[in-house]
Amino acid sequence: MKHWLILTTLFVFPASLSFAQIANANGIVVVANISNNDLTLSKQQIRSLFMGSSVGRDLKVATLPPSSLTRVEFNTKVIGMTESRIQSYWAQMRFSGRKTEPLQFDNENQLIEFLNNTPGAVAYLPASTAIPDNLTVVYSSANN
């Protein structure tokens, strides 16, 4: 009985906590530093982009670390896979020489700074983030 309690505390509780937070989250926007303000991308294109495909544009993809709740929400709503499946995928891509993982930043402030300063940069942020004027929202989970 005691073991089950420990197991529950270790795994089930944090998992249900984060899922509860995701359910209450505002959604995700994907933001890019591009000159074309009208560009919108489909969910599948965003998914391809963050899984290492090009979607035919020269974009520099950036992400947040696996511990980030924004990343968890993005994985759940857009990629449709858990973090462990995504890590497996990147191992397969890296060691078969197909694709490499996107740049990763420690927090949202650094991510926004990178977006602001890098033409072609693209990254996901919480929908509640105040998006600087020079950046374009190319995808919003609320509309999909």
Partner: protein
């Protein structure tokens, strides 16, 4: 300031041209049968059959050119350690990529990451599909082109090359197989939840088999030409594959079907498949896999009469002996396993595989006591996987 906290980004940034990464696994296994071994496992626990360490170095020369090498140290006696991959990549734009050098032949979904256990749910990918048969590696070029549509993305891969290898796919001795004109095409389509891969591969294979050729010449000189012709040691081998996977957030399905065919006597025609279902309760993945295959050799020619003369009988016996030595690897298996991703870069796995071979066939086993062996066994394995 911008680069202040980019600890993990630095390694991938263009400012750093050298990138070092790797993978390692420690696998322990035991077979609950003392009349045979399977994948090197017998009825005592051993760590030596699947454990390995792989190191990859990527050197980026500029935006378009890079060089990659992968070194592997393997604990199994069946595998050689050393350079696995060594290739140059030229990427003129984000959609197009060329690689040239020594690479793994991209037959099936996991063929080119078969040593990277972290990349797949099992400890041992289904042997019926992933057991090495012919030309695992090649020296040549791969071109790949990627396109993205609003509803799907697709990658087309073509390759061309050659390779000389040692094979022992039958109980006949280890022999040199020269593969030339090796070429293949693979199309990978990825939708939101469904992914499909289809590939076709061909290669001219020439197996150096002096005894077989010598015997064929003797048969020909005795005018048993049909019999002599059946002892084929070279020709085009063909490997085809279809793979499908379906991914939801908390479960997945995966299936692969493959066929191998060739006119070569010692290479049987093989049809194999596996079906996998997985269920995830983060950070655990529970999975079940059923796998099966058929393996068939070309039938023996009935041309040499018996009872005419002792010399002719000897020829017939010699011919029959060759067919007796051809071993069939046909096995049904059911694997139940669990993977625990306890860290972002590490996983622990455990799995049990129930094996049912075909009576009288080798069935991937190395049978040490044929009189007692019932062609049924369970393989239990645990593994630790790491990528860095």
């Amino acid at each position: 300031m911008l680069f202040g906290g980019m600890s993990s980004a630095i390694a991938d940034d263009t400012s750093d041209n050298f990138n070092f990464s790797g993978f390692s696994r420690v696998v322990a296994g035991v077979l609950d049968d003392n009349n045979a071994t399977y994948q090197g496992y017998d009825n005592s626990v051993s760590f030596g059959q699947g454990s390995l360490l792989g190191l990859q170095a990527d050197l980026r020369l500029n935006d378009k050119f890079s060089i990659t090498t992968q070194l592997l140290a393997h604990s199994s006696d069946d595998r050689n350690s050393g350079i696995e991959w060594l290739y140059a990549t030229y990427q003129p734009n984000k959609s197009l990529r060329f690689k040239a050098g020594r690479m793994r032949t991209p037959f099936f979904i996991y063929s080119d990451v078969i040593d990277v256990g972290f990349a797949y749910p099992w400890i041992s990918p289904p042997q019926q599909v992933y057991k090495a048969y012919l030309f695992d590696y090649f020296d040549g070029v791969i071109a790949s082109y990627e396109l993205s549509a609003p509803d799907f993305s697709a990658e087309l891969e073509v390759y061309y090359g050659a390779y000389d290898d040692l094979i022992n796919n039958s109980s006949l001795e280890e022999v040199t197989a020269k593969t030339s004109n090796l070429r293949g095409i693979a199309l990978n389509i990825r939708g939101e939840k469904i992914q499909a891969r289809i590939s076709s591969n061909k290669g001219g294979v020439d197996i150096d088999f002096p005894e077989l050729r010598g015997f064929s010449d003797i048969l020909r000189s005795a005018n048993y030409n049909l019999t002599a012709d059946s002892l084929i040691t070279s020709g085009d081998a063909e490997v085809n594959q279809i793979g499908i996977s379906y991914d939801e957030l908390n479960y997945f399905y995966k299936a692969e079907f493959i066929t191998i065919s060739s006119p070569i006597l010692v290479v049987p025609d093989i049809d194999s498949y596996y079906l996998t279902a997985g269920y995830m309760v983060y950070p655990f993945t529970f999975h079940a896999t059923y796998a099966n295959n058929t393996s068939k050799y070309a039938p023996a020619v009935v041309e040499i009469p018996t009872g005419l003369a002792p010399e002719v009988d000897a020829l017939a016996a010699g011919y029959a002996q060759i067919y007796d030595n051809l071993e069939n690897d046909t096995v049904k298996s059911l694997t139940l396993g669990v993977r625990w991703d306890f860290r972002i870069d590490m996983a622990l796995k455990a799995e049990v595989t129930h094996l049912r071979g075909e009576q009288g066939a080798r069935s991937f086993f190395n049978i040490t006591n044929p009189a007692e062996f019932d062609y049924r066994a369970n393989l239990v394995q645990v593994a630790w996987e790491w990528v860095f």
